[in-house]
């Protein structure tokens, strides 16, 4: 029987584009996944894989999404929220998500989970309880937008009964979903968020702390999935030898290349495990 290969792409902002390199490396060996799972930034690329969107479109989406105008207004809105000039509630965000939604729509349009060529699961966090939830129906734009609702930056997203925030708050690399849905082999691509050295504002410290927290939850859940399940998990953790800023879309070719390289190191073992 053919082995079921699942791809899990974790949170990591623009670094998640490394998964385009992963796909390239798999395709050149004729390896086809049968399920895609994604969280936060990784949800975009899981969707791209599951919809069979080609690499060119995926790259132009990445470039559009990681342009500064996506977070326009951040600084002035932050100041207003800090002074109490504007109210800040559970449905607030420091950035208007209009631009982000427009850009996501260019790639995903009206496509739903029914349009995928393989099962797709996207993880987001329920805002009040902090629990990880799996989204597997409805519009792809809504699910990816919910999964990547960076706390405080983008407003949480209401889908059905739930208000959702960034999946990285609960489950940054959702290997458990691939285990639960049935996989013989799981390729998990994960990223630690880059850490800044200097902080000179309240906002910088807040985002730094969020990164620390998310990196720790990433490691902790990764540890548990590896230790406690019987699934065969292959971790691909690309390394970057240079600083890559949150909106450094000029580094895209390098990011993809590092993903391809990290995959190539493991490809012979992956083939062996699939063939066995």
């Amino acid at each position: 029987m053919k082995k079921r290969l699942s791809i899990v792409i974790g949170s990591g902002g623009i670094l998640c584009a490394s998964s385009l390199g992963l796909i390239k490396a798999l395709q050149s060996e004729g390896i086809q996944p049968s399920m895609a799972v994604g969280c936060s930034g990784g949800s975009l690329y899981a969707s791209i894989i599951a919809l069979g969107i080609d690499s060119e479109i995926a790259q132009s989406l990445t470039i559009d999404l990681y342009k500064n105008d996506v977070v326009e207004g951040y600084t002035s809105n932050l100041r207003a929220a800090m002074t109490g000039e504007t109210r800040f509630t559970e449905s607030s965000g420091l950035v208007d998500d209009k631009v982000m939604l427009e850009r996501l729509s260019i790639a995903f349009g009206e496509k739903t989970f029914k349009d995928t060529i393989m099962p797709l699961y996207i993880v987001a966090t329920e805002f009040y309880s902090g629990e990880a939830k799996v989204i597997s129906s409805g519009k792809i734009v809504d699910a990816t937008r919910a999964s990547s609702a960076i706390p405080m930056v983008f407003p949480p997203v209401k889908i059905g009964e739930h208000l959702f925030v960034d999946g990285a708050v609960s489950n940054p690399l959702p290997i458990d979903v691939a285990i639960r849905e049935g996989s013989d082999l799981i390729i998990a691509m994960g990223f630690e968020l880059p850490i800044r050295k200097r902080m000179n504002s309240y906002a910088a410290v807040t985002s730094h702390l969020n990164s620390l927290y998310m990196n720790n939850i990433l490691k902790s859940s990764f540890a548990f999935y590896n230790a406690a399940s019987h699934a065969e998990i292959i971790s691909i953790l690309p390394t970057f030898d240079r600083q890559i800023g949150g909106f450094d879309h000029h580094q895209l070719p390098y990011i993809i290349e590092q993903g391809e390289k990290a995959t190539a190191e493991h490809i012979s073992y992956i083939k062996k495990l699939l063939d066995n």
């Binding site: 630690e192 490691k219 990764f222 999935y225 230790a227 971790s235 493991h266 062996k272 495990l273 066995n276």
Partner: protein, 111 residues
């Protein structure tokens, strides 16, 4: 995957190749046999391990638990940068004693 045992005050078991679903069971059997053969303390030299999946991580945990349950300890030495990245991501440095060299691992049992 292959293993080589170097006997000493504390035996060092060097592992090479891949530890994954195809080889992990064999590795666990080797370590368990050794631990129960009167060597509750053991050092695993990981310098020649090229690839490790979750099955490899579980093989380490199984061996650590086995050694500790008979009053010994399973300590690791010299994982390559790629393998160490996975060990760190999986929080193994917080629960298993891992040293940069076999010498340091040996010395750790001295105290």
């Amino acid at each position: 995957m292959e293993t080589t045992i170097t006997p000493g005050k504390i035996d060092v078991i060097a592992v090479s190749g891949a530890i994954d679903a195809l080889t992990a069971a064999e590795l666990i059997a080797i370590f368990h046999k050794h631990i129960h053969d009167g060597h509750p303390d053991v050092i695993a030299d990981f310098s020649q391990v090229e690839f490790m999946s979750s099955a490899g991580l579980r093989a380490i945990l199984a061996s650590v638990k086995e050694a500790r349950s008979v009053g010994g300890d399973f300590r690791m030495a010299n994982p390559s940068a790629g393998i160490d990245k996975v060990l760190k991501m999986a929080g193994f440095h917080n629960i298993v004693k891992i040293y940069p060299s076999v010498q340091e691992a040996l010395a750790s049992f001295g105290s």
